[in-house]
């Protein structure tokens, strides 16, 4: 049989198989839209995490401080330090709402009422003597200023533990910076000769936390997530589609009709493989495009490496799909098995949650999956801008697993042919 004829047959099988997906609403949903649905939901939920934009954190401020700064500081400080603190919060883009009192959860218009209804994430109470103490005007019963600490109170929403933690860290980070700024001014103004001693006493040990120069641009969570979604593409588009294809044709009898034509089983398999790869690449394109257009994901595009990695990963997914498709009794059974495998699997590939937060056994399982290797490789290439050399181990793993799983899938397919 001529090569031209075989290629014509492969093209016909691939085209028909491909049309079977794009003209079938259910298949379109599970193969293309389901992973897209995931990225949209999660992207909108967490996508902007990692930026310095604090506007999503809403702080209610009860500013009881009423004294003007007028004694031991320069004239430029013509406002209360409490007001400066509030202004600072607004300057770094927290959403600030001022309240007259802390109040209680049943009294409308108070800070406690607002936080109990989820209108604000935290309450910051600035005490009445805030400026007085910080400017050494506080004298107590003495005629000379008494060094007195001022005390801010921060209340967070206990019903949202994760949100409370983020709010707390963000607010404390800002306040810490504010305090440091105040220290510098006070030391400079009040005791210039003792500056170095005071600085050491105030901060005997300092630590700085910075983001290493992993990438040239500042990263958001979405920048890690979008390459991670390629793992989902393999599961939902590759595995899911491959698991349906032969089972569906067998149920409808078209597979039987195909093999009574002068077509070799290898040609049929190649046609199916090409169709599945086309679906995977199309799905990957849609996912990446969505990540860039909807969430402005900041990625590096090493197209040849991406194409190769997706191809190797897809061999594993299609291999598993072929095994399911060959042994499933019918189309419905293949669909069910595929969903049972796909749904839990997607949480073990590091696309949504880092594997490091999982128990050791789950981590070991996740790390053994070729889809996890693809996610790691793609994050290295697309997010960290690493060269191909850096992902060779992952690529070799993908190639080996692809070869093994696709071979097993082919064996299952051959066995299924005998059962027709």
């Amino acid at each position: 049989m001529s090569l031209k004829r075989s290629l014509n047959q492969i093209a016909a099988i691939a085209k028909t198989d491909f049309l079977g997906i794009v003209r079938n609403k259910t298949a379109i949903f599970f193969t293309l839209l389901f992973p897209l649905f995931f990225i949209i939901i999660i992207g909108f939920t967490f996508g902007q995490s990692g930026t310095e934009d604090m506007s999503r954190i809403s702080i209610g401020v009860v500013n009881l401080d009423g004294e003007l700064v007028a004694v031991n500081v320069t004239d430029s400080f013509n406002s209360t330090i409490g007001d400066m603190l509030v202004q600072g919060l607004e300057n770094v883009n927290f959403t600030v709402t001022e309240y007259g009192e802390y109040g209680d959860r049943d009294t409308n218009g108070t800070a406690a009422y607002a936080i109990s209804r989820g209108d604000i994430d935290a309450i910051l109470i600035i005490p009445a003597n805030f400026t007085e103490t910080l400017t050494f005007q506080y004298t107590g019963n003495l005629d000379i200023p008494v060094a007195t600490k001022s005390h801010l109170e921060l209340y967070v929403d206990p019903t949202d533990t994760t949100g409370a933690l983020i709010t707390q860290q963000s607010a404390l980070g800002f306040i810490s910076g504010f305090i440091k700024e105040y220290q510098n001014i006070a030391i400079e103004q009040v005791m210039p000769d003792m500056k170095s001693y005071i600085e050491v006493l105030a901060d005997p040990i300092t630590i700085s936390v910075s983001e290493a120069e992993v990438t040239e641009a500042k990263l958001q969570w979405i920048d890690y997530m979008v390459p991670g979604t390629l793992g989902l593409v393999l599961i939902w588009s590759g595995l899911n589609h491959a698991s349906r294809t032969i089972a569906t044709e067998r149920t409808k009898g078209t597979f039987q009709r195909m093999i009574i034509a002068p077509v070799s089983p290898t040609v049929v398999l190649l046609g199916k493989l090409i169709s599945a790869l086309a679906i995977v690449y199309m799905s990957a394109f849609i996912m990446l495009l969505s990540g860039v257009l909807l969430f402005q994901a900041n990625l590096y595009w090493d197209i040849p490496v991406m194409i190769l990695a997706i191809f190797l990963g897809a061999l594993s997914a299609i291999g598993i799909g072929l095994i399911i498709s060959s042994f499933a009794k019918n189309e419905e059974a293949a669909d069910s098995i595929s969903v049972i495998i796909s749904v839990p699997l997607q949480f073990f590939i590091g696309a949504f949650f880092p594997l490091s937060i999982m128990p050791p056994a789950a981590q070991a399982f996740g790390n053994a999956l070729p889809f996890t290797k693809l996610v790691n490789a793609m994050q290295d290439v697309m997010t960290r801008n690493l060269p191909f050399d850096a992902v060779i181990p992952e690529m070799l793993y993908l190639a080996a697993s692809g070869l093994i799983l696709f071979t097993l899938g082919t064996i299952a397919y051959r066995i299924a042919l005998k059962r027709l």
Binding site: R5, N8, A11, A12, G253, R257, I260, A261, P262
Partner: protein, 319 residues
């Protein structure tokens, strides 16, 4: 010259012998009927001829090629129309035909021309051709189903219950198509449950049971093989020896006898003949001319169904 030769073929599925040392041949241009109850081995035999199953022993040749040695060559010669509608319902008729044509190695202008010819054969209008097959009626699907097997102009056609589930109008339309294929000297193996279909279309019929052919011949030969007779059953309001003698005297009547009708307390007259349709008017007029009233007339013709029941002990329609 034979287009299909099945020689001493046996197919076993573990302990079950589906086809048992069966031999048969189908001549070029012959329309060969394969009848039998479910489990008789018809499907197994046709699957072996089409290469979907391998015989446990024996040989099958289609044209000059052995299915065991040259399966691809045999598949080129064969057009198989499965009993079920085996089309992609998300494709239109043209796309389906294009797909199957490409599987058989057609491409370019040749494929396009064949598709256009066969679309005429399917009698689908232009709008229907562009609609997905899922929107077609049963008859339209059947016609496309057959057309898909004809694209590569096969010499041998295997038709498995091609008219199953069709209304009489569509059934007769399909019979005409099958007859037109026969006129093109195609060799056709027709598996059917419908006796009228086999009688109407087939040159020869093989009745299978338990993996063997238990009767083989033209429909008329098979009917003659069975010791059954055509009978005209008449219920007159009264009988007499004179009346019986008069009826016996009609040309073509082999015998006349009477039997009591227990319910009506009358006698029923049984007229045995080889040509019931021809003599029926004479029988009725002879009785009426004696002043006897005819209360009912029933014509019992020996059919292939009778042959089948006699040979297998089962009715085809019960299967």
């Amino acid at each position: 010259m034979n287009d299909i030769e099945v020689d001493s073929v046996t197919k076993r599925f573990e302990d079950i012998v589906a086809v048992d040392n069966l031999s048969m041949s189908v001549e070029k241009g012959e329309l060969f009927g394969l009848l039998g109850p479910n489990g008789a081995g018809k499907s197994t035999l046709t699957k072996m001829i089409s290469g979907r199953l391998h015989p446990t022993s024996g040989t099958i040749k289609v044209g000059k090629y052995s299915i065991q040695d040259d399966p691809m060559k045999v598949k080129e010669l064969l057009g198989v129309v499965p009993q079920d509608i085996v089309l992609y319902d998300y494709l239109n008729a043209k796309e389906n035909l294009s797909f199957y044509g490409r599987l058989y190695g057609l491409s370019g202008k040749k494929l396009k021309d064949r598709i256009n010819e066969l679309l005429q054969f399917t009698q689908l209008d232009e709008k229907a051709v562009k609609r997905h097959v899922s929107t077609y009626s049963g008859g339209m699907k059947r016609r496309v189903n057959i057309a898909a097997a004809l694209l590569h102009e096969p010499q041998v056609l295997l038709l498995d219950e091609p008219t199953a589930g069709l209304d009489p109008q569509n059934k007769h339309a399909l019979w005409e198509i099958i007859q037109s294929l026969k006129k093109q000297r195609k060799t056709i193996v027709l598996t059917t449950h419908m006796m009228d279909e086999a009688e109407e279309l087939c040159d020869r019929v093989a009745i299978m049971d338990h993996g063997k052919i238990i009767a083989l011949g033209s429909p008329s030969q098979l009917v003659k093989k069975v010791k059954m007779e055509n009978t005209i059953t008449v219920v007159p309001d009264k009988t007499s020896p004179t009346l019986i003698e008069q009826v016996k005297g009609i040309a073509g009547v082999k015998n006349v006898y009477t039997a009591p009708d227990e319910n009506e307390k009358r006698e029923t007259m049984k007229v045995i003949t080889d040509c019931p349709d021809d003599i029926l008017p004479d029988v009725v007029s002879t009785i009426v001319n004696t002043g006897t009233k005819v209360l009912s007339v029933q014509l019992s013709r020996v059919t292939l169904e009778d042959v089948f029941i006699m040979l297998t002990g089962r009715s085809l329609r019960e299967e």
